[in-house]
């Protein structure tokens, strides 16, 4: 594991160099957005705008307002940690933004395009083209080798760029593992594959749900370092749910969810 961490940390430096001049995929994404929503005062489109978002669950004990007029804005290149107690609604917010769940009120605008009113097909398209998701449980596809796992989302979005994917593979220290299957990898290796998959499609927004929750401290540090470097240099925005104050402190901004409100 220590070797992996060293490799990964070393790779991170190389990634920084590579990402200095990434392909201009964020602007390409933005060009596809047609609505004049989510535009900042300076005229550039925000990566994510969440406005007055409400989500309520009916429980045996009555209605539970998980999100109560929650709002946030992420500019391209932003990296925001989302903290909160268990059950405070952090994962729910991430799921709503990813279009995996439906909100009750408010607006979610990604790369200038509102989620409101999109059907399942359009939400899926938004997800594969604009969003990369990293799960705590890695959620790799067990039947595909590492390289195909990394390329999966980019391929279904018709955005597969072999050179870019190979760059990610090299920088994340996965070069010797591309023909292996997920079950043959350690937890840290699996999570690096998950990060590569999220980035391979060149999304506008990366959503990470406790991405290091299953990893030891040393490994989680190295994975986070790689992720942050890639996000910072690519111009994509990152919203990361975490329980860890230590990890949250490494991101530029921090939002705390409590009582359904973001602070």
């Amino acid at each position: 594991m220590t070797n992996e961490t060293q490799n990964a940390t070393q790779s991170a430096g190389d990634i920084l160099t590579t990402i200095k001049s990434p392909p201009d995929w964020t602007s390409a994404s933005r060009d596809r957005a047609t609505e004049s929503v989510g535009v900042s005062g300076s005229g550039t489109k925000e990566a994510l705008v969440v406005r007055d978002l409400c989500k309520r669950y009916e429980t045996d004990g009555g209605a539970l307002n998980v999100l109560d007029r929650a709002s946030l804005t992420l500019a391209p290149g932003d990296a925001v940690a989302l903290t909160g107690e268990s059950g405070s609604g952090k994962s729910t917010l991430l799921h709503l933004i990813a279009g995996l769940d439906a909100h009750d009120a408010g607006d979610i605008i990604i790369a200038g395009r509102a989620l409101e009113g999109l059907n399942d097909e359009e939400r899926a398209r938004m997800r594969r083209e604009e969003i990369g998701v990293v799960f705590q449980q890695f959620n790799l596809i067990p039947s595909l080798p590492v390289f195909d796992n990394i390329a999966f989302q980019a391929r279904i979005a018709d955005r597969f760029d072999a050179a870019w994917t190979n760059t990610l593979v090299d920088r994340l220290g996965l070069g010797a593992l591309t023909r292996r299957y997920p079950e043959q990898l350690s937890g840290g290796q699996q999570q690096r594959v998950a990060v590569a998959r999220a980035l391979a499609g060149k999304p506008t927004l990366i959503l990470a749900d406790e991405p290091t929750g299953n990893l030891d401290e040393e490994t989680s540090d190295s994975v986070l370092a790689l992720t942050l470097d890639l996000v910072a240099d690519s111009g994509a925005a990152l919203l990361m749910v975490t329980h860890s104050e230590r990890l949250a402190g490494r991101l530029r901004r921090r939002l705390h969810l409590s009582g359904g409100k973001l602070q």
Partner: protein, 848 residues
Amino acid sequence: MTAFWWTLRTLLSDWRRRPAQALMFLAGLASATALFSGVQALNFQARQSYAEAASQLGGAQLASVRTPSETPFDQRAFIALRKAGYKVSPVVEGDILIGRQPITVIGIDLATLPAAAAGDSLQAIGGNGRQLSANTDLETIQPADFLLPPGVGLVAPETLTKLSANEGDRLRSSTDQLLPPLQTSAGITPDTIITDIAPAQMLLSLGGKISRLLVDETQATGLPPLAKALGDLETTALKGLAPAGLALNKPTNTNDMSRLTDSFHLNLTAFGFLSFFVGLLIVHGAVGLVFEQRRTLMRTMRACGVSSKSLTIAAATELLLLATAAGAVGLAIGYTVAGALLPDVAVSLRSLYGAKVAGALAFRPTWLALGLFIAVAGAAAAAAGSLYKTWKLPVLAPGKPTAWRAAEQQTIKRNALFAGFFFATALGLLLAAGGLFAGFALMGASLLAAALILPAILSVLLRLAEANASGPIVRWFFADGRQQLPSISLALQALLIALAVNIGVGSMVGGFRATFLGWLDQRLAAELYVNAGAPGRAIEMRALLEAQDAVTAILPLAFASTRFNDLPAELYGFTDHETYRDSWPLLAQNPGAWDRVTSGEAIFINEQLFRGDDIKVGERITLEAPTGPWAVEVAGVYSDYGNTRAQFMVAVDTLKGRWPDAQGDLFILRVEKESVDRVAQLLTERFQLTDSDLINQTDLKALSETIFEKTFTVTAALNVLTLVVAGVALLTGLLSLATARLPQVAPLWACGLTRRRLALLDLLKTLSLAAVTSILAIPLGVAVAWMLTAIINVEAFGWRLPLHHFPDQWAGLIILAVAIAALSSAPVTAALWRASPTRLIKVFADER
């Protein structure tokens, strides 16, 4: 398209991780398709043979002139009608024996044969005056070869093989008549020889007689209609040539053989469907299991941006590809199975209905298309629920197996409700519906209901056992069984159905055997059955027999054919004697029935008419006799196992009076036991009788028993195959479970139980479930036996048999089912026994 392609590729790649489920799916669908398509291949082949037989000599297009009872008449009738200007052509037809092989001989007149009757084969040798064409294998035959001695006998290639003969061979019939040289030709019905009319008349001992006249479609203008002319000429040109008169028979598109054999084919089809259904249960189980195991994968794919629509279409396409592959394998197996069973089916059809079916299977594109369609449709039906769940899959639902088990408990409850519905349907069908189709629907609904309720029953039994168990291991044993139940319930359902059908069919066949053999002993009470062959010889034979002290009774028997309810029927005229009164078992009769029948006031009918046509004792029916309609009362019903046709028994004198052309040179002889061989030898030597002319009781019983055994060969074979399919279901179900078992047993291993003990407990659990299922299959099997004997057989064959039970057979089946379960469990037990500690530890490390 890109998204679809990568989604499909990912789904297909998932099977690599699940070889057991892949095997389960492919084996289930391939075996289901094999059994269904095999039966269809048999049915197609038989129906084609009927159609060929019906269309032979233009049967489906040409009208014909015959006597009402279809007996031969004087060939001068042909000359009389030709002289009157009508284009008719004579045909003589009858059966001979070559060795022990019955062969139909058809004699034609090539010069006058209508074009529609000639077909390709006969046109090639100049039928209807055409010149010899350069056609196929017949180009070496000249019309003169056909017409001039020794002539030519055209046969199907398979007939030549069956007779162990070569092209050009001249065989001898059992009456020592020399046949024309045989020549193969496509399009000739199996077991048939077509030759010129003159040698055919000689072979059939029908000198100067013909069986029918084919009527050309185009007749000279200005002639009165033939039907009218037949009436007009009856007292002039045709006088005395056909005592019973001649009638014009219109061609018919639906031939009698198809109608007669419908029940037989429906029976086969039903068993094909049953096997198909059992196979589909396996497919359903495999797809359902894969869907549950793929929940996490599909959730990941959805999170990566695959829409539910794309995912569902990709899953459906995946299913289509796999179903086509499995269907193709199934068709290959089905074709092989059908090829192996066809000879027995052909024997059954010939002995039961007199139908001739080609012994070699022909390949048909329609059969292939139907087989593939049924494979895909079956897979779609079996997977419809899983595809729907894929479409509606909530992306955020937990993908944990515990949720599945909870859902499966709900499924068990829902299935129990469906079972109630099918029980109610079965009850409704039993009380209100009739007919063969309703019989099969009743059996299907009952089997389905029982299969659906099975998991609920097992679940309750396990819960009760768990509640009453003492000791933690025993409690775990039953609790774990309940947890495991949803995963193997489909395999157990398949086993239940297969066992129940086996018990049902076994009871029916066993019961039939017991009843039939007892009935044969009664029915074949006489010692010798003789066919004198000609009236003159009959008189001479009778004189000889009357001089023999050992012959205690000479009972003349007459036979005639007729039609009843538009189907062929047989009439037997018997001589009153205690042989009949004491031995013939009557199912129902009026007081004084024997006296009334022997005096000519009434008749007996066979069981087929009693049950199939619903004719009651005391009812009056009308028979079309050559001497005019005969309204007569039914005095009794006799059982007639092995026969599928309508049959009437009348007094011999009454029959000869009303059917003047009846065959009357048959005798039934009562002979002292010790003199049977001597009398038989005397008759054989004096009258040169053949094997078919003189039959003794022993041979006739043996022949009848052979016919009986062949009748159920196919049913029994399908039965065994269904049990094999259920075994495959159990094996694949357990293999699918194998990896999922580790997390369930690892905690017990950690608590101190050895892997060996855990493996044996697992084996014991599977065997117990199989044993309980087998025991539950017994009452269901008895119900199936009742439905088969009391409803389906009556509708299909017209016989009702007493219900017999065979507990030793049940015990054998239970042992077999447990053995199948043991065999199926062996790989899983071995894997658990040999599971390395590292693998078990990984369960706790959550790194599996």
